[in-house]
């Protein structure tokens, strides 16, 4: 266990560093909190709605799948260290193990559990083929424009 002594020391040093920084900041920084400062950030709008405590259930799916893979990795490490000694037996056993995990992974894929993306376009386009630039843009007479431009030039000169 002596090998962990430096890790522990570094950890204690890290905690002390954070603690001292926060204490120093408390001593040095001003404390002039107002209601606006103490409210949750809302892009400049006064907060109106309660904070959402819920988030999409998809994140739970990812978490569960991760636990599965993490378990696999935990079992992979001891095997990886002893790969040479275990030989063919270890490899076959691990292939079966990883294969079963892979199958459940493919099952989740096939159920669409890992699809986040936008689906294919479902709504038919709002524009009809008859609506083109020639049918929608009203052409303004050329003479009118020239008149306006000259009028603007005159005012500038004046």
């Amino acid at each position: 266990m002596e090998q962990y002594l430096p890790v522990l020391t570094l950890g204690v040093l890290g905690v002390l560093f954070v603690l001292l920084s926060i204490v120093a900041s408390r001593l040095l920084a001003p404390e002039r909190a107002t209601v606006a400062k103490r409210s949750a950030y809302e892009c400049g709008v006064t907060e109106q709605v309660a904070i959402p405590e819920r988030f999409p259930v998809k994140f739970y799916l990812v978490a569960m799948l991760f636990i599965m893979f993490d378990i696999e990795i935990v079992f992979l490490y001891p095997w990886a260290v002893a790969n040479d000694e275990l030989g063919l037996f270890g490899l076959v056993a691990m292939t079966i193990f990883a294969g079963i995990f892979f199958l459940s992974f493919v099952y989740e894929l096939a159920k669409g559990g890992l699809n986040w993306g936008p689906g294919r376009q479902l709504i038919t386009p709002a524009t009809s083929p008859e609506r083109t630039t020639t049918s929608t843009i009203r052409k303004v007479g050329l003479e009118g424009r020239i008149e306006i431009e000259t009028a603007a030039d005159d005012s500038e000169a004046a």
Binding site: G14, S21, Y41, I51, Y77, L109, N115
Partner: protein, 397 residues
């Protein structure tokens, strides 16, 4: 028996002194390196974007980060009313302490190979040039990167505000998705090295560039590790956690003053640690030619140069690549990296066993190819069925 020879035959006062010195040096090095890294990133990014960057505080703006850090101390420390007081205060500790601890197992020097086992002698005691060498060094690294997720998750949850909550949920989903790939890429290295100790992994790569695991593992694990590490660090192009356009500041929106500075510090410290880990796992750690004199000096120089190269790569990514969309991020992690590295690690194990037991070349690789074909077919079928199922769900809704 693995482990630092310093502690093998009991622990006395001299041992404790050497250990304390090593811990202090590592601690100071990390803080100074983090300061330097922030400056390096800002200066390099500005060079790549045709700007000047920080140039006022100190020569070439070197003291800019220090000035920023001092300023943080004098800023008001705000906590939203809805925030959970205890957890809100706890989160910066988790983030910063895990960042410090992960560096403990990285070997930063020592000459390996041809008779020498990477020890240096200080005050008549042999020791390794790394803070600690527990027999399960790699697992300690993975544990620390897993606990670091709690810092982000708790910070976002405890803020009692919507942007941090969404940011932290995203961050944890991203971190755990890529941690699977990261862990499996590390397993490949463990197969090749046959040990979990970081010192052992570096020792196994001693003896020339061809023995570095980046080549002997076939480059793929390294690329997977690099991508997963970038995502794990929430660096661009995977910085959805802090996507300013959608989430303001992400999980640390509500943090101000020194608490924010601690998150910031932890983030950059993790970048340095992750670069150092990549050098350790794939690029022979401190391996390199010893040019003249001082055998203990050159390995550390090589190590620092290699780490610097990776720091450059991370900044380069940030300047070059646009941010991924959330679904693209999840697809890359789950549907490409994980199946790829799962196959690759079985393949490397097979390759190692074939070399050791002299199996038939055609039979071995034929079996691997058949396994790859079946796996790919299953995966593609699964992906297609998944897209269909997702589409049906959308059309029903």
């Amino acid at each position: 028996m693995t482990g630092d020879p310093l502690f093998i035959d009991g622990v006395d006062l001299v041992d404790i002194g050497i250990m304390a010195a090593k811990v202090l040096v590592a601690f100071t090095f990390l803080l100074v390196a983090t300061m330097f890294m922030v400056w390096f990133e800002r200066k390099l990014i500005s060079d790549m974007q045709n700007r000047i960057g920080p140039n006022v505080a100190g020569p070439w703006g070197l003291l800019q980060t220090f000035a920023d850090g001092v300023k943080f101390f004098f800023k008001e420390d705000l906590r939203p009313e809805n925030a959970d007081p205890l957890v809100f205060r706890l989160a910066p500790y988790i983030a910063a302490v895990t960042a410090f601890l992960s560096f403990a197992v990285v070997p930063i020097g020592g000459s390996f190979g041809s008779g020498s086992s990477g020890t240096v002698t200080i005050f008549g005691r042999e020791t390794y040039l790394q803070v600690a060498d527990p027999p399960i060094g790699i697992l300690l690294l993975l544990a620390m990167s897993s606990i670091a997720v709690y810092g982000v998750m708790l910070a976002g949850w405890a803020s009692g505000s919507k942007y941090p909550l969404i940011g932290s949920v995203r961050a944890s989903a991203q971190a755990i998705s890529y941690e699977a790939a990261l862990g499996m890429a590390t397993v490949v290295v463990v197969i090749l090295a046959g040990t979990l100790s970081t010192h052992g992994i570096v020792a196994a790569q001693a003896g020339g560039i061809t023995r570095w695991f980046v080549l002997s593992s076939g480059v793929v694990p390294f690329i997977v590790f690099l991508i997963a590490a970038t995502a794990e660090l929430n660096r661009p192009p995977f910085d959805l956690v802090e996507a300013e356009q959608e989430l303001v500041g992400g999980f640390h929106t509500e943090y101000s003053s020194i608490r924010f500075a601690l998150f910031f510090l932890a983030e950059f410290m993790n970048v340095i640690t992750m670069s150092a880990i990549m050098v350790t796992l794939f690029f022979g750690g401190p391996a390199g030619p010893i040019l003249f004199g001082m055998t203990w000096f050159w390995p550390t120089v090589w190590f620092l140069l290699k780490v610097l190269a990776f720091l450059f790569v991370f900044v380069w990514f940030r300047a070059t690549l646009p941010r991924l969309r959330y679904d693209q991020l999840m697809h890359l992690g789950w549907k490409l990296l994980i199946p790829l590295i799962l196959f690759w690690l079985m393949f490397i194990s097979l390759k190692e066993l074939r070399a050791a037991n002299d199996w038939n070349w055609i039979a071995t690789y034929g079996a691997a190819f058949i396994a790859l074909a079946i796996g790919t077919a299953l995966l593609l079928a699964g992906l297609r069925a998944g897209d269909r199922a997702f589409q049906d769900e959308l059309e029903e809704a």
